[in-house]
């Protein structure tokens, strides 16, 4: 078990299987809120379901409307259970808060060094992340 001390962005706690994207994510047009799947062509997570996972990616990109897509995913039961970013930006931070998805950033290590499939626990108030897996080489 590894503990990372990050920064709380959106309140709440969430735990589950980790899904890591080495690339930024655009929720508007990049993710289908009706299925919870990444649909952006050529994205490393294309075709993967992010619903129910702890989703880790460097940062958000694309349109600010992406915030409402996160809200839609939550309404449809397709939201990730928590989000970890290297660096929060307004689109994902806003989306996480209005969708009530716990979110942390700046955990002290690039999220690309965490392994998909590991168990992880995120606390959006304290910013702490508990990770049950190994650190991948940089």
């Amino acid at each position: 078990m590894l503990h990372f001390a990050g920064r709380g962005i959106a309140r709440g706690t969430g735990s589950g299987e980790l899904l890591v994207s080495p690339a930024p994510i655009s929720f508007l047009s990049g993710v289908d809120p009706d299925t919870g799947m990444v649909v952006e062509t050529g994205h490393p997570l294309q075709g993967q379901k992010i619903a129910g996972k702890v989703l880790a990616f460097p940062y958000g990109k694309g349109s600010t409307v992406g915030s409402y897509v996160l809200y839609a995913m939550s309404r449809n039961g397709n939201a990730p259970v928590a989000i970890i970013n290297d660096e929060a930006e307004p689109i994902i931070a806003t989306g996480a808060i209005i969708a009530k998805i716990p979110m942390v950033d700046r955990i002290g290590i690039s999220v690309s060094r965490l392994r998909s499939g590991a168990r992880v626990m995120v606390d959006g108030v304290t910013g702490s992340v508990v990770y049950d897996g190994e650190i991948l080489p940089a």
Binding site: I9, S67, Y68, A72, E89, P90, A93, T94, A96
Partner: protein, 387 residues
């Protein structure tokens, strides 16, 4: 971030779930942008008013919020005039969804004015902190009025309206308002019209990008400043600019511009943007017209009939305060519409080439309406539109 005890209590949920979420959002945005505290605002302008932008989920989110704005707040322009959408040729389904979004904001205590010129309705004062959204309004508030606002996203501006505060970073802080690039305009002896200032902004915005420019060699009036700033916010990401001897901070504070990178813009570079391509519609009021601009248009159209569709976009409050002028303009067959504009209305997509007197519209019409754009002075617009 340091919060006042009252804000901590809101964050703990003592003022209800909506205010708790809005405070959480302001704190998160503050963290993202490195703010140390929140600052009290005098007014808000909320984007995300267009159904086309926020969609059914955005509307659903708005509908479950339960709080009232605590500072005066208005909305960004939407795709149609609220009262005259049928006349403008807007589809009923679009209109009904748009009305639902507006109603949701009304329930939250937002004044139902959809305008990019909120300063004509309730002008801020020098040094006031604001949470405004629309890029040209942000530029005008910062540059012409000397108020302080970042360019807010929709939910952030709504949160600011419902809480009465915004994170204090960026252009709220004096040290971030200094000029970063000097733009010397060589146009002495030329009478620059509002359209010329729009063209100057169109050109300069591409050169300065997101830096704060300091202009010399020009003396625009408030309408010229509005056109200049709006265009620079469209082709660049300029949210604040200074004009030597004209804008308040340049006059009151004074800036040392000696070590700044210098860019020169010539008369010819501005003039080159004016073409005489044929057009099938005229649209003015980007940003929405001032009372002065309306009076000028009325004088030019007096006794004439328009031969092309001729649109004039204005805030509802400005229409209400200038009823006789508006009636005189509409006698010519030109249409004066509130709440919308050539950039955001789907109606404008039916034209192939649109003539405007705005550098901002010159930049946005090709992408937003799929039409070619031509810039001309308001005199040229009237000449072409009544030929």
């Amino acid at each position: 971030m340091e919060l006042e005890p009252g804000d901590e209590r809101i964050l703990a949920g003592e003022s209800g779930e909506t205010r708790r979420q809005m405070m959480e959002l302001l704190v998160a945005l503050g963290k993202v942008f490195g703010a140390e505290r929140l600052v009290r605002i005098k007014s808000a302008q909320v984007s995300g008013a267009s159904y086309k932008t926020i969609g059914k989920y955005g509307l659903e989110w708005l509908n479950q919020l339960d709080a009232k704005a605590v500072v005066p707040a208005v909305l960004n322009p939407i795709g149609m005039p609220r009262g005259r959408w049928e006349e403008m040729g807007i589809d009923r389904d679009f209109a009904e969804k748009q009305q639902a979004v507006i109603a949701a904001y009304g329930r939250l205590g937002i004044r139902l004015e959809c305008t990019c010129t909120p300063y004509y309705l309730n002008s801020p004062a020098f040094g006031d902190h604001l949470a405004w959204s629309e890029s040209s309004a942000v530029s005008y508030a910062n540059s012409v009025i000397g108020a302080r606002t970042n360019r807010e996203g929709g939910p952030g501006a709504l949160a600011a309206a419902l809480i009465g505060k915004t994170p204090c970073y960026g252009l709220h802080l004096t040290e971030n308002r200094k000029p970063k690039v000097l733009v010397q305009v060589e146009a002495r002896g030329t009478d620059l019209s509002i359209a010329h200032y729009g063209a100057l902004g169109y050109h300069a915005g591409k050169l300065v990008g997101n830096r704060i420019p300091y202009f010399t060699g020009i003396r625009p009036d408030p309408d010229g400043l509005k056109a200049l700033g709006a265009a620079m916010a469209a082709t660049g990401a300029v949210a604040l600019y200074h004009v030597e001897g004209v804008t308040l901070e340049a006059v009151k504070t004074g800036f040392d511009t000696n070590r700044l990178e210098k860019i020169t813009v010539t008369k010819e570079e501005i003039r080159r943007l004016f073409t005489d391509i044929p057009v099938d519609a005229i649209a003015v009021g980007c940003p929405h017209c001032s009372a002065n601009e309306l009076a000028r248009i009325a004088a030019l159209l007096e006794g004439k009939r328009v031969t092309l569709p001729f649109y004039i976009f204005v805030a509802q409050g400005v229409i209400d305060a200038n009823r006789a002028t508006v009636a005189s303009i509409e006698k010519s067959g030109a249409k004066v519409y509130a709440d919308t504009c050539m950039v955001v209305s789907p109606v404008m997509e039916r034209y192939k080439a649109i003539m405007v007197n705005s550098g901002k519209a010159l930049a946005y019409v090709p992408d937003m309406c799929g039409a070619v754009s031509r810039i001309g002075t308001i005199e040229d617009c009237v000449r072409v539109g009544t030929a």
